[in-house]
Every structure is written in structure tokens, then in C-alpha cells.
């Protein structure tokens, strides 16, 4: 079976459109990163420090009531979120100290919802010093893995291809930040893990395309750059899509069936896989075309 027959789409010719789209995505992503750096985004308590609890009630709870109950009992600042499946409530209190807040929340609900028993399914309390350390470690991890990937690309490809692959990788990471920022999803350790995983994985598609382009460049020394690139992308288009599709299927099953703990994590992976496929065709390759053409013009 074949998903696509022989295609001849002018990918490179559409680069102006794709560059505009990617620039917008990247700018939003950059804003997201800056907001994360300032701590202004929706930060997970693993970075900001604080308390998060997941409570399971025996009867449904109205969020407004829960908020009122907490307010009445001295818990002023708390983010509440309902989990549809089974009367669950997430309570998040950023920046608070370890120990006290979780007791206060439990006491408040015990008092106000006397007829609605609950159990604490999970609670996470993170002191500010741990949050700081984690932030630092994560930053180092992110820088190191991006650096590692860039070094590998630099070693493996020549300059023009290296720049293209690096831009595509950064673009993918920024796109994930952009979507999470726009959806106001929590930026936590798992999200960063997803971003770094995609940074490594999304190169697969780029490498598939690049390898074919180089192969064709060697075969066809005289053809126009645009044609060689377009032909190469069209030739490998079906495998670019199929490889992403299989990972997409796996990530989608995690997203739909994996439960709330890894819901956002799988969402990040899904976005990453999609964007990674897009960027190998519409970001990485056009950049190389531009650079190669420029290099040729210089020689001539």
C-alpha cells in the first residue's frame, strides 16, 4: 500500500509562506521562553516551589465552592482545576512553604465539605531551594543536549546543512513552547523532558531529507538547486510522513488513554512530532537552499 504516489510539490517555492508561519511560531515561542525565564508563565511547582495536591472526592465538587471553602479557611492563593474523570480536584499553591499548606487545605475541605469525604491521591511539596536547583539543572540539561545535537550535526554535515538542521531543531522546541504558552498549559519538568526528547527525535526526519538531498546533489551536479531540493523532498515525502505517523500513533494513544499524569506530556510530544515533520520540509531544507545559493553566487 502507498499513502502517496509520486508527488511533485514545490516545497521550496513556498518558502516565503512557510518562513512567515515559522517566524510567527518562533516569536510566540520566544515570548513563552522569556516568560518562563521570568517565572511569569504557568510554571509547575517543581520549578516555582510550592504545593500541589490531587484530591479525590466521593461526590462532585463545584470549583467555586471549593475556592470559597479554601478562602474562608485562610488559603487565599490557590489554583484549582477539575479533572473530569471521577470527582478529582487539583489544588496548586505556588511558592508556599513545605508542610503547612497541604494541612490547611485538608482541614478546610474536611470542615466545609463534611458530607463529602475525600482522599489525597497525591501531594507534592517542593521547597524554594529545590525549585532553584531544579531550574538550574534543567537549564544546564537543555543547553547541554542542544549543544550536543548541534555539535553532532556540525560534525556530520557541512556548514549549510548544519545551520538548516539547527534552525529546524530550535524551531521545533520553540513551537512546543509557543503552543503551551498560548494554551496556558503548565511548564514543568515533564514538559521540558518532552521538548528535549523531540529535539533529539525531530532530527530523524530532517536527516532523512538531508541524506537524500546530498545523494542527489552528488548525482546531479548541474541541476538547479531548487529542483534538486524539491525532487529530493518529494522522493522521501512518504517516509517522512510514515515515520512521523507511527510515533504520532504511539503518542496519541498516550494522550488519549495514558491518564492525567502524562496527559500534557503526551500533548507536548504530539505537537513536537507534527512540528518536527513540518520543519524538516519547510524550515530546514529552504534554509539550506538559500545558503547554498548564496555560496554558489559568491564562488561565481
Amino acid at each position: 500500500m502507498e499513502l502517496l504516489g509520486k508527488t511533485s510539490i514545490d516545497f521550496i517555492g513556498k518558502r516565503n509562506i512557510s518562513f512567515v508561519i515559522s517566524a510567527i511560531i518562533s516569536i510566540i515561542g520566544l515570548i513563552g521562553v522569556v516568560q518562563v525565564g521570568r517565572g511569569a508563565a504557568n510554571m509547575g511547582i517543581d520549578f516555582s516551589g510550592g504545593t500541589a495536591m490531587q484530591l479525590k472526592f466521593s461526590k462532585p465538587v463545584v470549583i467555586a465552592d471549593a475556592r470559597a471553602a479554601l478562602h474562608k479557611n485562610g488559603v487565599a492563593k490557590a489554583d484549582l482545576q477539575e479533572i473530569k474523570d471521577g470527582n478529582k480536584l487539583l489544588v496548586k499553591m505556588a511558592g508556599a512553604a513545605v508542610g503547612k499548606p497541604s494541612e490547611m487545605v485538608q482541614a478546610a475541605f474536611k470542615k466545609e465539605f463534611a458530607d463529602n469525604a475525600f482522599t489525597v491521591e497525591s501531594s507534592t511539596e517542593i521547597g524554594p531551594s529545590i525549585g532553584d536547583k531544579l531550574r538550574k539543572d534543567t537549564l544546564i540539561a537543555a543547553v547541554l543536549s542542544l549543544l550536543g545535537i548541534i555539535l553532532y550535526i556540525a560534525w556530520r554535515f557541512d556548514f549549510q546543512f548544519g545551520v538548516g538542521a539547527t534552525c529546524a531543531t530550535l524551531h521545533d522546541c520553540l513551537a512546543m513552547f509557543a503552543v503551551f504558552y498560548l494554551l496556558n498549559k503548565e511548564i514543568n519538568l515533564l514538559f521540558i523532558t518532552a521538548v528535549l526528547t523531540i529535539a533529539g527525535y525531530s532530527l530523524t526526519d530532517t536527516v532523512v531529507v538531508f541524506d537524500r538531498i546530498r545523494e542527489n546533489l552528488h548525482k546531479n551536479l548541474k541541476g538547479a538547486m531548487n529542483t534538486i531540493f524539491n525532487d529530493s523532498i518529494n522522493e522521501v515525502l512518504s517516509r517522512t510522513i510514515v515515520t512521523s505517523l507511527t510515533v504520532f500513533l504511539a503518542a496519541a494513544s498516550l494522550f488519549f488513554f495514558g491518564g492525567e499524569v502524562i496527559h500534557d506530556f503526551s500533548l507536548a510530544l504530539l505537537i513536537g512530532v507534527l512540528v518536527g515533520t513540518y520543519s524538516s520540509v519547510f524550515v530546514a531544507s529552504p534554509i539550506v537552499v538559500i545558503l547554498e545559493n548564496r555560496a554558489l553566487a559568491k564562488k561565481a
Binding site: L144, L203, T204, V207, A250, L254, V261, I262
Partner: protein, 529 residues
Amino acid sequence: MPKGTGWRISLIVAFVALSFLYLTPTLASKLPAWWGNLLPKDKIHLGLDLQGGTHLVMEVDTQKAIEGSLDLVATDLEDTLNGKTLRFKRIARSGSDKVSLVFYEKGTAETVQKLIKDKYPSYEQSPTFDDGGFVAMTLRVNEKDAQDRKDKAVQQALETIRNRIDQFGVSEPTIQREGINHIVVQLPGIKDPQRAIDLIGRTARLDFKMVREDVSPTGAIPDDAELLKEKTVDPTTGAVSEIPLVVQKKSMITGDLLTDAQVRIDSQFNQPYVAIEFNSLGAKLFDQVTAANVGKRFAIVLDNNIHSAPVIRERISGGSAQISGSFTEKSASDLAIVLRAGALPAPVKIIQNVTVGPSLGQDSINKGLYAGLIGVLLVVVFMAVYYKLSGMIANLGMVLNIVYLMGSLAALGATLTLPGIAAIVLLVGMSVDSNVIIFERIREELKLGKTPQAALNSGYDKAFLTIMDSHITTLITAAVLFQFGTGPVKGFAVSLSLGVIINLFTSLIGTKVTFDLFLHKGRATKMSI
């Protein structure tokens, strides 16, 4: 059989056998008796997010340990100088790293300087100086000793905490030191986390101090006394009341002189209490103190809170005493545990507490496995439809991948977390990727009119570098995540990095050999791809 397939097949089969061997302890609920010492016993551990439990990071306030040892030095000097009838005005710790001594006469100060030089050679002495008409000097702990003391305090705290947890009874706890002054405690499957946290985090410093009934708690408090509070909880209303009491600063007896502490039940009131036993020095001191102070009150002080302040009715010899009060059976047994295990050398602060209830853990396992199953099914069906028989070979490779991965996780005694399961599901998708790249190449070669065997060989050859590239970049991030990740993320990194390496093997050797078997001798004219 075609040339060169023999060793590859043996390798694949051997790895499968090895994986199952290593997986046996994980899968079998009980190992048979003949499973000797040579066979592997490590199994895949479930992370706290899957089996429920508590993960604590504690910070030891090491500065307090230094201050504590300086307090001891000050007390010891007081006793020594009193014993030698050397007169002094004041000896006390000042600040975080000094003991200051104040004398009436220069002569005494000089004698003491010599004495200290012999007794505490590692401390740095300042020259004497004038302090409002008195002769003063300071004793400073040197930097290296301070570091040693801090280091020892963390080590000691770790031992004490381990002791307490052992006595509390948690199966397979992990207690580790991390960094300079952090202690990480993992308590899997614990039912009452708050109680365990209270038990572990308590300093449990026990002091017996005389009550100064001559000083009013509301008035000025002399230098050698301090104001402490006695907390009582009304058992019916739960209301807490605090009674302030002035006690002597110096303790008569401390908790480190205990040899045992046990919960007993008072037969008269059916109330639990904690019976304590002193060692010989403690027994002697207790005997002396009670003999000299019949009719007076002494305070039993726990972590600077007065637990109770009974009146000494008679001299108590024999070295046993009891701590009674409004105990529940649990609180009495917890107190007995901390007294037996000893006090922490310095207070600890809990700076991270992640607790997952057992129901959520089980829920995560179920959902993770369910999602995995669906992921596998989707990929299997897709590959079979899209690449027909060849797709089935890729699926076979994927199954091998999972078996190998689980086997290696078991062999390493690795911890499986929910993100770890997610990584395995993701790998299901990634593991067929290599085959997709190879298959697409083969299709191209077939279209060029090559024979199946030739197309197969050039397909694998040409796809090789591409596959290496994509695996290495994923491996780079997985390795970095492994290095820097903690808990669940580390579990993710372990599964991912192992999976990527295994995937290289199965896609380049495992599936290739299957094709070779099918297509050998070049007789095949058609390929199901």
C-alpha cells in the same frame, strides 16, 4: 541457510533467552527453590509514582550542629573551671562559631589559656582583651573542623533516620545522602505518610532540666535560665493550651544517656506511657539529681518543649524512669522509637515531599499499560496494512525490542516510572521507523528493477547512516536527561536510552536476518512490501 545468518540468529535467540531469564524474578511472584545464587535476582522496580509512596528530601541544618558542639564545649569548660576553682564571670557560645569567656582577673585568664591549649588544641584562641573592665577571650572553631563536624552531622543524621525508619517498619526504604547537606528518603507503599514524616523529621532531643520556681515566667529571666512552654492538648476538645515555665538552662541529664525506651500500658488508668532505661552514667546522674531535689519539680523537655514537669517525690535509683502524659498508643510508640534511635545531631527541614497514594499509582499503571497496548496495536495494524509481510517482520522486530528492553531494565534493576512507560510506548513508534526508512528504500530499489535480494541489501546499506544519525541524536538527549533528571524523568531517560540502543540492534540485525532467511538463494522474485 544463507551464509552469515547462523551467528546472527543465535545472537537474537540468546538475547531473548537472556531477557526472559532476567525477567523471571520480575514476573514470577515467588522464585522456585532451585533458582540458586548464580541466577539473576534483580527485578524491575516500580517508581514511587506507580506503586505509591513518599519521596522526601531533607536539609540538615548543619550550622546548628556546630552551635550544639560549641554549647557542649562551653558547658564542659564551665565544669572544668569550677572543678579547678578557677573563677570566671561568664562562659557561653557567642555567634555561630565562637565561645566567649570572661574572667575577673588576668591571671586566671592566662591559666585557662594554657589549659584550653591542651584540652582543645584544634580551636583558635584570641589574645585576651579588655571587656568593660573584665578580661575576655574567645575560642573559635577552625574552618576545617567546622566542615568535618558538619559532614559528620549529616552522616549521623542519616544513620539516625535509617534507624528510625527500620524501627518504624517500612519495606525496602531508600535512604541516601545527596550533595552536601541533603538526605533523600524514599518510602514505597507507605500507608500513613504524615506520621512517618513527623517521626523522621523530629529532632527528638530529650533533656531533663530543673524547674526554677523562684523565677516568675512573666518577669526578668536570669542568664542561666530560660523560658519554655508546656503544651497540653485536651483529649476531648482537642484545644491546645500553653503553660510557660522557667527552667534551668543547663540540662541535668540528656537523651544520649538512654539505653532503651519502650511503650507500656499503665494498668491503673489504661494509659500508654514510655518507659526509659538509662545507662550506668545516666543512672548515677539520675540517682544523684533525684536525691538532691526531692520535693522540687523537674521538666522533661523534648525539642525545647516541656513534655511534662512532675514533682520529684523520692530518690529514684536503678536507672529506669517513665515519661507519661496524654499519649495515644501511636504517639507513645513513635516517641519510644525516636528515643531509642537517638536524637538527630541537628534539626532537619523537609524541603521536598512528593507523596503518591496507592490508588493513583495503580491507576497510572493500568492506564499506562492500556495506552501502551493500544499504541502497539495501532502501529502493528498500520505496518501490516502498509507494508504487508515486511511490515509483519518490522512488527516482530518491535516485539523483540520490547522484550529486550524489559530484560535489560530487569538486569539493571532499573526503576520503571510512568514517564518510563511512556518512553516505551514512544519507542514502539520509533522502533518501526528504522524499518520504514529501510522499506521505503527497498521499494525504490525494486522500482528500479532490482531483484528482491539486491534491493534488500542496498536498502539496508543506504539507510544505515540515516538510521545511525537519528538514533545518535535521540541518544544524546536521553543521556543528558539521565544525567540531570530525577525520579520520573530519570525513569524516562533510562527507558529511552536503552530502547534506542536496542532498537539499533533489532533494526539492523534482527529484521535483516529474517529477510535474509526468506529471500535466500535469490530465488524469490516478488517481495511482499
